[in-house]
Amino acid sequence: MKRVYMDNAATTALKKEVLDAMMPYLTDIYGNPSSLHTFGQEAHKAVENARHQVAKAINAADDKEIIFTGCGTESDNMVLLGIAQRYSKKGKHIITSAVEHHAVLYTCERLEKMGYEVTYLPVDEYGMVTAAQVSEAIRPDTILVSIMFGNNEVGTIMPIKRIGEVCREKGVFFHTDAVQAVGHIHIDVQDMNIDLLSLSAHKFHGPKGVGALYVKKGIVVPALLTGGAQERNKRAGTENVAGIVGLGKAIELACSAIDETSAMMTHLRDKLMTGIAGSIPEVKLNGHPTERLPGNVNFSIKYIEGESILLMLDINGIAASSGSACTSGSLDPSHVLLAMGLPHEIAHGSLRLTLGDDTTEEEVDYVLEVLPKVVERLRKMSPLYKG
């Protein structure tokens, strides 16, 4: 049976070139980067090379501004908990948005329990926050603004540069969870006024289990993990050398071809969006029509429920995702869709299809062939559908 992977926002396939770059560090070059001997120094050199690749990809001023972590979630936790701890004398107020990833939202909830105050900025119908909203919310005791670059569910790209400008003017640190954006759209931390940025390798065809955090020079983010002196005392624990090498290689590959892949993915994304809107009645595009990640398609399909759509697509070989409650184990559907003002019953029927740079036109056509049939079948089963 045909198998089509349309869940690249969840994770991506590891690229062959990336695996090839990693292999030596899983086999012959097994030294500990902290060791003085040649075995160790070879591994150390590989880690520093990867650091340079990451710094270059996001235009960090100095390689030292990159800290390797275990995942995007760890990077988010490190920023929020670290900045809160280190700068609590200035204040205990943090600003974020209602549509952040749970790595940010749940960490903010933890901070609230620790006595911090968090402002969750509401979003518009597209899931967007404006720089003006951020500006109005900043107070003298605000220590951090954390707004995601591109939304993992609906793909909306936030006005990061303008938000960064506002934060810089007001002297507040600006963090962005760019896990979904890195490797897919141009990011220049200096030009965009970004002080702190989280990224994760497996979202751009790198390996799982490795992420990074950009920390602009002069900002102190205390270590989350203490122990050894790795990552210049910022992240204790023996480095995941092969993973870090893979991250470096993957970000280099992704960013060197970003214009072509992004153009190609945007073309396929738009074909998918137009095709779905044209062939299935009573659907609603979630997220912004143009200000969206090149690989993200998200629709609410009325009268049917998300998990059923996923199961039926999976039976047909298509891997997709949903903001449905049933995929999360709670009765409430996606916090992102609810924050955008969707009623519960519409939010339950959401379908997310996310493309990768390896998605083909043929695969998009296959989805466009299968999806309308799946929807029709489920609607026939639905007591809500009277069509």
Partner: protein
């Protein structure tokens, strides 16, 4: 996540659709929580469920439990159908993930709501609301007899 039996009933649901001449129709759940089940019964003069059908808005487990519930009560007496428990449905499906057990409860309630509707019609009394309470504030969205539900 799901057993083969659940997937079988999800992909090939039994007794799906409205039943012509149904004399007991019940609908439980609500769209806000993501599950609605509608059960159609055709009960003969001997009190035997001659035909049964369902329509479900919901996840894989919701569809599978509805389908299984119809199989379990088809050809049975009203009393037997009233004795259908959610655990019998779960057992027949060879298990459900814990987070999905509420679907089986809904299936049991849908059967009971349809039988209640059958009696109500017979006795000419007002049809009671049997909407399952999920703890959310919501408008009652289930269709009573001859209702045109327009939600979602």
């Amino acid at each position: 996540m799901y057993t083969e039996k659940v997937m079988d009933h999800f992909s090939n649901p039994r007794n799906m659709g409205e039943v012509e001449g149904a004399n007991g129709v019940g609908m439980v759940g609500n769209a806000k929580c993501g599950d609605i089940m509608q059960m159609f019964l055709k009960i003969n003069d001997e009190g035997i469920i001659e035909d049964v059908g369902f329509k479900t808005f919901g996840c894989g487990a919701a569809v599978a439990t509805s389908s299984m519930a119809t199989e379990l009560i088809k050809g049975k007496s009203i009393d037997e159908a009233l004795n259908l428990t959610n655990s019998a449905v779960v057992e027949a499906l060879e298990g459900l993930p814990p987070a999905k057990l509420h679907c089986s409860v809904l299936a049991e309630e849908a059967v009971k709501a349809a039988i209640d509707n059958y009696y109500a019609r017979k006795e000419g009394r007002d049809i009671e609301c049997t909407c399952a309470d999920c703890g959310h504030d919501h408008e009652h969205e289930h269709a009573h007899e001859d209702d045109e539900s327009e939600e979602a």
